[in-house]
């Protein structure tokens, strides 16, 4: 069938099952938007392309489907560089379709020209620069395939505007021609057997699961392995929810602001089984002193992750779901004696008892930030999707909000992008309209993509925003307090806006809460009020996130 290349783009999107795209039109992608006009695909008009990119990420993280963002050439495309890198770091399946100037203007500093392929090259899983309109359907199909398979990630398709208007024959593409791309998903059977034996022989094992388990939809298989014996389990910031918390075998999160129990257990473990986790520096602390007694099983779909930071004794390249299912079966067949772990659990229980997560609650009406998370848990019943921004509030949410299921917790873990929270929550809600979506944010982070309140209002995407307002760029302030002699350099509130008024101005509902005693009720009211609601919660100004592994210190030297 003959059609304009841009109409073929729409056919491709529909063939990939895309039901919503996020974006903003501009000169170079007007043809795309012309085709979108009656394509029957929902378009969410964001107020800044960065919001569109993060919304696509939030959509992808919440649904597991590929998130799509459209941006025009030049500034439109450069505005999505941060979301692209963010999606790269957290392995988020996303496709970014950018407009480009006419082919005869390429490389001439044409109006709104930027070398998008060049700028994004180190930040993408792959990218396509369309050079002939006939390439468009295949490039799009392969972009989606690349984005969602193997280790997921962002793919950019850059389409010069003249090519997008060409008249081309369109046939649905069902195959891919990517000879250099063959992710290993099965996992070597011999290695898996070795891993099962190592687990059976271990006396102080820890299972350590990351975002890869969520991406692989391997939560059930993880639970099966963990409960096939009395294995202690910890999940990284990206993996929270992959194993339901709270649970008898759950140690909490590891790393810089993880629980002492999880960190001490890793420190004393004789075997660490990493699944879809990458031994990030925020998890290991000082690498040379990380888990000094442990042998490592490392399961990952990306071979470049294995032995990157920690040398793996039993490497297994494969999809977490496949590998975990086989590993659990192999392990059960060995009928290991569970009693060998008793001593280990005694030690773990002692840590749990001695070092629970704790804070000193206020005796006045003052709202402690940790209490704010507990109040949110109470008000929502703990069932909502919770999107987070970056900073102290993110860490407190990760600590004090037990996630019951994968894809319930949406945050920017690798890149740590302030401004991620609101648009990601918006994208999650667009993908999961039947679920309550809350966004926990900070007074600093929130201002970085605050314009998306307008999008939420116009598109009637209900997001419940809770600002943990301490008047500081709190995490930086904490570091300045602890490591830089309390020299607070440019982290204090100058004249922060009145967030409730700002929300009203954007057509949302604004609320403000300063009293601990009414906080849960206020939050409930926000949840029950139709539309997007912003609740500005005044919390203790100088509260630190504890416990903490100081930067560069070993995990066993946790403070606070």
């Amino acid at each position: 069938m003959r059609m304009r290349a841009v109409d073929a783009v729409m056919e491709c999107l529909k063939a990939e099952g895309v039901d919503v795209v996020f974006g903003l039109p501009g000169g170079a992608n007007i043809p795309t938007y012309d085709a979108l006009h009656d394509a029957g695909i929902r378009h969410v008009l964001v107020r800044h392309e960065a919001g569109g990119g993060h919304a696509a990420e939030g959509y992808a993280k919440a649904t597991g489907k590929v998130g799509v963002c459209l941006a025009t050439s030049g500034p439109g495309a450069t505005n999505v560089v941060t979301p692209i890198q963010d999606a790269m770091m957290d392995s988020v399946p996303t496709v970014f379709i950018t407009g480009q100037v006419r082919t005869d203007l390429l490389g001439t500093d044409g109006f709104q020209e930027a070398d998008v392929l060049g700028i994004t090259m180190p930040a993408v899983k792959h990218s396509f620069m369309i050079q002939h309109p006939l390439e468009i359907p295949r490039a799009l199909h392969e972009a989606f395939y690349l984005a969602r398979t193997g280790r997921p990630g962002p793919v950019v398709v850059d389409i010069p505007t003249d090519l997008s208007r060409a008249d081309i024959p369109y046939e649905p593409i069902n195959d891919v021609r990517l000879p250099g791309y063959q992710p290993t998903t099965e996992g070597n059977a011999k290695q898996i057997r070795q891993a099962a034996k190592a687990l059976a022989a271990s006396r102080r094992p820890v299972l350590y699961a990351g975002g890869g388990v969520v991406n692989a939809n391997a939560s059930a298989e993880l639970i099966e392995l963990v409960t096939s014996d009395n294995f202690p389990i910890t999940c990284t910031l990206m993996g929270l929810g992959a194993f339901p918390a709270p649970h008898d075998q759950w140690l909490g999160m590891p790393g810089m602001h993880g629980t002492r129990t999880a960190n001490y257990a890793m420190d004393e473990a004789d075997l660490i089984c990493a699944i879809g986790a990458r031994f990030d520096d925020r998890v290991t602390g000082k690498l040379s002193e990380f888990a000094p007694r442990a042998k490592f099983i490392h399961i990952d779909v990306d071979p470049a992750e294995i032995s990157k930071n920690v040398p793996a004794h039993i490497p297994i390249v494969g999809d977490a779901r496949n590998v975990l299912a086989k590993l659990a079966a192999e392990y059960r067949a060995l009928q290991a004696d569970s009693g060998r772990l008793d001593e280990w659990w005694q030690r773990i229980r002692a840590w749990q008892e001695r070092y629970p997560l704790r804070y000193d609650d206020s005796e006045t009406a003052e709202i402690k930030p940790q209490y704010m998370i507990e109040a949110l848990l109470e008000a929502t019943g703990g069932d909502c999707i919770l999107a987070s921004d970056i900073g102290q509030h993110q860490m407190w949410a990760a600590q004090y909000f037990p996630f019951k299921r994968p894809r319930q917790w949406i945050n920017s873990g690798g890149l740590g992008t302030m401004g991620f929270g609101l648009p990601a929550a918006m994208g999650a809600k667009a993908g999961c309209p039947d679920q309550v979506v809350a966004c926990i944010t900070g007074d600093g982070s929130f201002q970085m993509n605050i314009q998306e309140l307008a999008t939420c209002a116009e598109e009637e995407i209900e997001v419940k925003v809770f600002i943990m307002n301490n008047g500081y760029l709190g995490m930086v302030r904490q570091w300045q307090e602890l490591f830089w002699d309390r020299r607070y350099s440019h982290v204090a509130r100058g004249r922060w806006p009145d967030f409730a008024k700002v929300a009203e101005g954007f057509g949302c509902v604004g609320m403000r809460c300063t009293d601990k005693n009414t906080l849960v009720a206020d939050m409930r009211e926000a949840l029950e009020t139709p539309g997007t609601v912003v609740v500005d919660v005044a919390v203790t100004e100088e509260e630190n996130v504890y416990p903490m592994i100081a930067p560069g210190a070993a995990a066993r030297d946790m403070k606070g």
């Binding site: 392929l117 060049g118 090259m121 180190p122 899983k125 792959h126 990218s127 620069m129 050079q131 690349l146 990517l178 000879p179 250099g180 791309y181 520096d281 990306d302 071979p303 470049a304 990157k308 570091w479 490591f483 830089w484 002699d485 100081a550 930067p551 560069g552 210190a553």
Partner: protein, 186 residues
Amino acid sequence: MGEPGTKQDVLSLEELEAAGGMRTGRKHVLSILVENKPGVLTRIAGLFARRGFNIDTLTVGPTDDDQLSRITLTVDGALHPIDQVTKQLHKLVNVLKIRDLEPADTVARELALFKVAADGSQRAEVMQICEIFRAKVVDVARRSIIVEVTGTTDKVEAFERMVRPFGLVEMMRTGEIAISRGRGET
């Protein structure tokens, strides 16, 4: 000692060195089979640049399949830990195959062109050296000659040492190409 970002930690140069990872201590010849598409070289070079690695030589050329190109690049494993970067190269969608060639199992050659000052009196002597190296004189002018040398890097460098005293006007080298010994494909 901590990481950059905390006050007490002015990192010493030795500590920065130690943080670098494993070095093999030898020259590596990476033979990379890639799809013949625009941007592939940039993607590959970018992975080295990102780590601050220097590529010593680089050649790109067609293969017997016009869809594919062969990139041969050499890096110094004494200076850079290349294991991780090799894994990253594998991940590039346009890269089909990578081999880290062992010098003993490899035939490697490069081509060099030398412009040597060779006035009447010196010309005979330069020509004699050329003969020993089985180098070919490809251009003769009144005050200089151009010589083509093919061989291993060692041979090219030896030739350079020999002709330099006569006045080396300039030198161009292609960088190595390499092919594995035996029946199997590189």
